[in-house]
Amino acid sequence: MNRDGNSPERRRFLQALGAGAFAAAGCSSSCAGKQPQQSAPATGQATSSVTTAATRTEAARVVAAGGKPRVVVVKARRALTQGYDADRGALGAMLEAGLLALAGEKDAARALASYVRAGERVGLKINGLAARQAATHFELVDELSALLGKADIEPRQQIVFDRFKRDLTESGFGANRRDGYRCVGNDEAGHEEEIALMPSSASRLARVLTRQVDGVINLPVLKQHMLSGMTGALKNNFGCIHNPNKMHLYKCDPYIAEVNAIPAIRDKQRLVIMDALRPVVEGGPSYQPGAAEVANLLLFATDLVAIDTVGLGILEDLRAKRRLPPLDKEGLFPTHLATAGKLGLGEADRARIDIVEIEV
């Protein structure tokens, strides 16, 4: 894998991150809306917002195969109010900027409509394992839910899901949020009886995924992981199967990649919004006091491998800031990214990713 961890652009970006003064490739928050025009959108949304989701998926594949997939990194000066509570205003602005930059639209709802179409049932796959301290921020989901509403996805058509009801509840996703979206644990809805076969393993898919949603917005949390090296968009899909515990051997490789290659999972991925407001940089995936680092970042992409590859760079830099060794020095370099790349699931070569950085 080409980690390309020292490119001048990346170094500048990360230096700015570390200094707290985010360099947005010469773009201030006031011109965030113009950012998409700087390079071609990753998903070919020169088409109108009436593009169907199926068409969108095809378009995403074509562009990803022929050009660079785009990952948009949005930084806010301050996205957290205190502790792990998030500032809804800041999140709203970040969401809007990220979606516009990713989709090349002028309106956030229209941008979302590039990935999900009116009337669809949309799954919001959060990561609730570490409870409120290090789960996907519910404030982010609330803001996204509001935008989905504007894109004609009614709240009742929005389903937040994860492995356990317990994890949802303890992450702030109660039975039904006041905003109206539904919250369902896989332990409540169950799993398919038929097994999904992979080259190295087998599993059963969550019924929420197979029966209750047409497409998924993947909402991982950026975290170091004691077994796989990192957790991001790809590993978040372990929450779509019934036996992820069986998939943690050998640094989860090739299991993470193979799970993401299951058609029922792969074909429903529409968009990834990675919560890197406060990544867990050591001791993950659970939350350990003092193990999270405020970064005030959200990442946007349609390519799960690309967004994780960019996320890895951010994670490594945050670790370096703490004088923690690189993951490969700890025997924890996430090799699953390269495996996923080889399976054609996305781009694992950072040099071949169009990284757009925005500050709001």
Binding site: L129, A130, A131, D167, D187, E188, A189, G190, H191, E192, E193, I195, L197, S201, A202, R204, R207, M226, L227, H242, N243, N245, K246, H248, L249, G283, G284, P285, S286, Q288
Partner: protein, 369 residues
């Protein structure tokens, strides 16, 4: 969920079905919440992590996560078993089904299993339960005393089987203790991938154990079972030293673990490390789970494996899963006469008295009464 009475009433006869795949009907995979009981055989690690010491995987488990087996969970830095007293499969089988051929032939085995396994064999016939978590299957609360009482009622021994008893070892130990207290025998069917200390503890309370020696090649264990061979061999040596009656099964999968060289090496190891009197069963593979594309084992393979075993000096080598195929009977090593005649799980003739061949008086190793 059924009431306990209803649960058993639905089973009828001697088949006390609980759930799961071939053993009964599995309901939609959204079970109730299992009860958590403090687990044993683990140690604390920094940051609310734990390390399980039940099996060689030594899973380091983060808070709120589970180990590979899926049935042991870290809750705030304490480790819990979610399957103690909660079997998902309960059945009365002939002891020959386990298979035990030298342990009380013709008797019954009150067989229980919980969800979970510390391996994932691509050929698993009970994958419905072994590869499931407790909440994925129907289960019932059945503490040790109740297991023993039911086994006694059927005149059966208690057998921990179907999935992997090592992952519910605390339950096995407590139940086996209760069984012995009540004068009921306790047996186990396992893949043998356990750490020495917990295995030694459970062996103190067992009367017989059958181990699946799935292959004799590390790559095979890793590739097809998500396991390791070496710890299994260690366990076998622990068992051999314990004096608990031991039988071995080798499931012959065409093209995977049935090569002559491997079979011969395995037989030599068994003879050298466990002794020539340990029964070794070569059983027929049936396409299942992730190996539906592999054909069943040809009879000729089983016969050839048996011949290799005998040629290597093992005295009790059997074929299995093919009723009527030669190799099911126990032959007296001294006079060459059939001392136990079998067809499948059926006992057709018994000529062992007080542990000796009725024809020549030769002592036949095993537990015969």
């Amino acid at each position: 969920m059924l009431s306990r009475r209803g649960f058993f009433l639905t089973c009828g006869g001697c088949a006390v079905a609980a759930s799961a795949g071939s053993l009964g009907g599995r309901r939609a995979l959204a079970g109730g919440a299992p009860r958590a009981f403090p687990a044993r055989f683990w140690k604390k690690l920094p940051g609310k992590r734990v390390e399980c010491q039940l099996c060689p995987k030594h899973c380091q488990v983060d808070d709120r996560e589970r180990g590979f087996c899926g049935v042991r969970e870290n809750r705030g830095g304490e480790y819990f078993t979610l399957v103690w007293g909660q079997p998902c499969a309960v059945h009365v089988d002939p002891i020959e089904k386990k298979p035990f051929f030298h342990f009380r032939p013709g008797s019954r085995a009150f067989s229980i299993a919980t969800a979970g396994c510390n391996m994932e064999c691509k050929c698993c016939q009970n994958w419905d339960i072994s590869q499931s978590r407790p909440e994925d299957v129907d289960f019932h609360f059945m503490p040790p005393d109740e297991v023993v009482a039911m086994a006694k009622g059927y005149g059966a021994c208690v057998t921990f089987t179907y999935s992997e008893p090592i992952v519910f070892l605390e339950y096995c130990i407590d139940t086996a203790k209760a069984a012995h207290k009540a004068g009921v025998a306790a047996t186990m069917v396992t893949g043998g991938s356990g750490e020495a200390a917990p295995m030694q503890e459970v062996l103190e309370h067992l009367d017989a154990i059958k181990v699946d020696l799935k292959g004799f090649d590390e790559d095979y264990y890793r590739r097809l079972c998500k396991g390791e061979l070496k710890p299994v061999l260690k366990t076998l040596e622990v068992i051999a030293r314990s004096g608990v009656w031991l039988e071995l099964v080798h499931l012959c999968i065409p093209g995977q673990n049935d090569g002559e060289k491997e079979i011969r090496a395995m037989c030599r190891w068994v003879k050298g490390h466990l002794g020539r009197d340990v029964p070794l069963h070569f059983t027929r593979f049936h396409p299942e789970y992730q190996m539906k594309n592999v054909p069943p084992t040809p009879n000729a393979t089983l016969i050839r494996c048996r011949e290799i075993g005998m040629a290597e000096g093992l005295r009790f080598v059997y074929t299995g899963n093919v009723p009527g195929l030669s190799g099911e009977d126990t032959i007296c090593p001294s006079c060459g006469k059939t001392v136990v005649a079998r067809r499948g799980f059926e006992l057709e003739g018994m000529h062992i008295k007080n542990g000796r061949c009725e024809f020549c008086g030769f002592g036949i190793p095993g537990v015969w009464s």
